[in-house]
């Protein structure tokens, strides 16, 4: 286990070399709205051991304990991003008790580098010891609050605030356990808030950084400050005003033409760069996802976990003499569900991950540590059923749903090596059991493979249609919308399952 002594409260980030050129792009998305719509509304739960970071006087930090000198309940996790090195995620947080802002680097050793991580809690509610917080990185003692994160390639954008002023820092995450501080930053000496930030590249090669915050006593209070880099090298920094602070144009939520039914308080915003980024000459088209929970007192109140998709049109010469404003158009709002609210809340941490091959994922974290773990959820992308075909067993997936028409809790079987489940009463699906609960099935299995669902535990029974039903692979997405309609013998009866080739 990593030696983490004295890491908690003493910021000592190393500076990145001045000549470094970070990877600064994510996949360009062909159809952002389509990919946004294909993010599954159900999630797989994950957790990482918090290791030995929280000892003695820090034992209750980042918990719900609300006691002076021990922990303040407003210490909580704030942002989450999966990194380009796909076994790593970073979670931001703020400890006002110390005070110090943090970045927690999570290494999910039992998960795959590419594609969906899938739940690491299927067979045990306690994560494997190798899925852990690999590193805690204290960021700043003066700015105790690190907010919603965003990743562009290997560049991690971290907004910091301290109730009086705010700033944005940029980290180079090529080595996730040893990030380096890029020379550039955005100073906001007159703005107390910087809730979340996003980074993208304009068509002219410069960087655009957007910072969401809410102005006090204004309704709607949502503001986005847009900053532009001086050059195509991010380490050259961002445009400044004559006094030395960073130069921005501010978009207000009031400017939105339509769909202003809510007064959102986004905890995360992320840019998606589309393939058709050039909207017109000199205007860059981006998409932006903002996530929030609608409850005023989350997580005590349930609220709705929502994600909004916007189209953002940004004039490349935003800082010309007449200060051209970006134009935002809200396209769509989606709600994400869980019967169990103990693993994530979009009032705490949320973040879009642009898979390098295909699909958008949403990751969401919970406010506090629970039983010495940091919990989070993965809303993975569902492939397009009309066109998507697989021929590799490692890309197979089987989703069993608690309710007909793919509702309720969902058991996801993503990896062949985790696909043999002898007793559904001993697994944990979104924190609960799944024995005799399956009512609908959606799956994608390559040709030549068969996944068998058994009525009995331990794969017992030989009679097709009576003891088991087979899901035969065709390479395409297939569905059983209602098990009762197909064979009522199996509705709410499945107790074990495995690939047919596993039978011996």
């Amino acid at each position: 286990m990593t030696n983490r002594k004295n890491e908690y409260g003493f910021p000592k980030l190393e500076l990145a070399p001045p000549n470094i050129t970070p990877v600064d792009h994510n996949r360009l998305v062909e159809n952002a709205q389509d990919e946004f719509n294909r993010i599954s509304e159900q999630s797989d739960f994950l957790a990482a051991n918090d290791g030995e970071l929280f000892k003695n006087r820090r034992e209750f930090r980042y918990t719900h304990v609300n006691r002076e000198g021990i922990n303040e309940a407003r210490n909580h996790f704030q942002g989450i991003q999966r990194l380009r090195k796909g076994k790593y995620l970073v979670i931001s947080g703020g400890d006002v008790t110390e005070p110090v802002s943090h970045l927690f680097v999570i290494r999910m050793n039992t998960r795959r580098e590419k594609g969906p991580l899938g739940s690491n809690l299927l067979f045990s509610i306690i994560p494997d010891a190798s899925d852990e917080v690999a590193k805690i990185i204290p960021l700043d003692k003066k700015y105790w609050h690190a907010g919603g994160l965003s990743v562009l390639g290997d560049i991690l954008v971290v907004p910091l605030e301290n109730d009086k002023k705010s700033k944005i820092i940029f980290l180079h995450m090529l080595e996730p356990e040893n990030p380096k501080l890029l020379k550039c930053k955005i100073d906001r000496p007159d703005i107390p808030k910087a809730g979340t930030a996003a980074l993208a590249k304009l068509t002219n090669g410069k960087y655009i950084c957007a910072i969401w915050w809410e102005e006090a006593k204004k309704k709607p209070g949502g503001r986005i400050d847009f900053y532009v880099s001086r050059s195509e090298n991010i380490q050259d920094g961002f445009e400044e005003k004559p006094g030395g602070s960073s130069k921005a144009v501010t978009w207000k939520y009031d400017y939105l033409d339509s769909k202003k039914e809510r007064d959102p308080k986004y905890q995360a915003i992320n840019f998606i760069e589309p393939a058709d980024k050039e909207a017109e000459n000199g205007v860059t088209r981006l998409f932006m996802v903002g996530t929030e929970n609608t409850a005023a007192a989350a997580p005590i109140q349930a609220g709705k976990d929502l994600a909004d998709l916007f189209e953002v049109l940004i004039p490349n010469d935003m800082f010309s003499s007449e200060n051209k404003l970006p134009i935002l158009t809200k396209i769509e709002t989606r709600q994400f569900f869980s019967k169990n609210r103990e693993y994530y809340n979009l009032d705490a941490a949320g973040g879009i991950y642009i898979d390098p091959d295909e699909g958008l994922y949403l990751y969401a974290g919970y406010h506090w540590r629970v039983f010495n773990t940091i919990r989070f959820a993965e809303f993975r992308s569902q492939p397009d059923p009309a066109t998507h075909v697989i021929d590799n067993i490692e890309k197979a997936w089987i989703d069993l749903f608690e309710e007909p028409k793919f509702g309720g809790a969902r058991l996801s079987i993503l990896r062949k090596k985790e696909s043999s489940i002898g007793d559904y009463s001993k697994i944990f699906v979104q924190g609960g059991g799944f024995d005799k609960k399956t009512s609908s099935v959606r799956y994608q299995i390559p040709p030549g493979y068969v996944y068998r669902l058994y009525k009995n535990k331990s794969f017992v029974g030989q009679s097709p249609g009576k003891d088991f039903i087979d899901l035969e692979g065709t390479g395409k997405v297939q569905e059983i919308e209602d098990l009762k309609a197909k064979n009522k013998n199996f509705d709410n009866k499945i107790s074990s399952s495995r690939y047919l080739a596993d039978e011996t």
Binding site: N56, R57, E68, A73, E342
Partner: protein
């Protein structure tokens, strides 16, 4: 190698930082002030509370050991004599257990009466402990025993309760809501047995309360207590002050 572990009461921020004398003086002053206020308030307390050991003092999570000191005053609907009373209760909550002890003294205010006293204790166990998951209530099973002696009358109270609680942590304060229905056994030993021949009685009761505690430790609470026994109702409405201390292990 010998491993040393100290137990420290944390009642002010950053106890581990208190190398400076001013911080220490401030903390001692606050503690003295609180104890003084507590004494003044509890001087008017109804000591019967300590003989009905049913109060609930939930905590956030098992690893956090707490000590809660209560002082109460209130209304009791069955007059038992002319007394001045002094009473106090303390809850010690290690792990999933909750141990309460309390004692009270009753001083007769006229020459005809005798002085009395009350003592009570209870032991609770969190079947479902506190956790960061707000939709899960804390569930505690609790048994207690209380004894009161007033003049020649002696009374034993033995409640068995199931408590439910939730702790909400808005900024800077904790709000605790709790309720605890119970079975209640009362054993009487009175000098006038002819008028009250039945010694052991079983009743049903329920207690409920709300406590608002600043995240520094001091707080106020309001408790309701109702008991149906021997075909009559007894109730207490008590308000009071408390101080909720966290006991942190300060291992090196």
């Amino acid at each position: 190698m010998c491993r040393k572990s100290n137990l420290t009461i944390v009642f002010r921020a950053s106890l581990w930082k208190r190398n400076d004398d001013n911080s220490l003086k401030r903390e001692i002053t606050q503690l003295i002030t609180f104890v003084s206020v507590l004494s003044l308030v509890s001087g008017a307390a109804y000591a019967q509370l300590t003989s009905l050991p049913v109060s609930f003092s939930p905590k956030e999570e098992p690893k956090l050991t707490t000590l809660v000191i209560h002082g109460d005053f209130g209304f009791f609907n069955r007059k038992i004599g002319n007394f001045k009373s002094f009473a106090g209760r303390a809850f010690w909550n290690p792990g999933r257990f909750s141990i309460m002890g309390g004692a009270g003294a009753l001083f007769a205010t006229n020459d005809l009466g005798d002085n009395g006293f009350t003592v009570g204790a209870s032991l609770g166990y969190d079947l479902k402990p506190g956790s960061p998951l707000p939709q899960r209530p804390i569930i505690q099973i609790k048994g207690g025993i209380g004894y009161a002696k007033i003049n020649d009358s002696k009374q034993w109270n033995i409640p068995l309760a199931l408590g439910f609680a939730s702790i909400l942590p808005p900024p800077k304060i904790n709000i605790t809501l709790w309720g605890a229905p119970r079975l209640h056994l009362r054993i009487l030993d009175e000098h006038d047995t002819a008028s009250n021949p039945e010694k052991a009685k079983i009743g049903l009761g329920v207690s409920a309360g709300i406590a608002i505690t600043s995240y520094g430790g001091p707080g106020v609470h309001l408790d309701f207590e109702w008991l149906r026994i021997s075909s009559h109702n007894e109730f207490i409405i008590a308000a009071g002050l408390h101080w909720n201390f966290a006991l942190l292990s300060q291992s090196p």
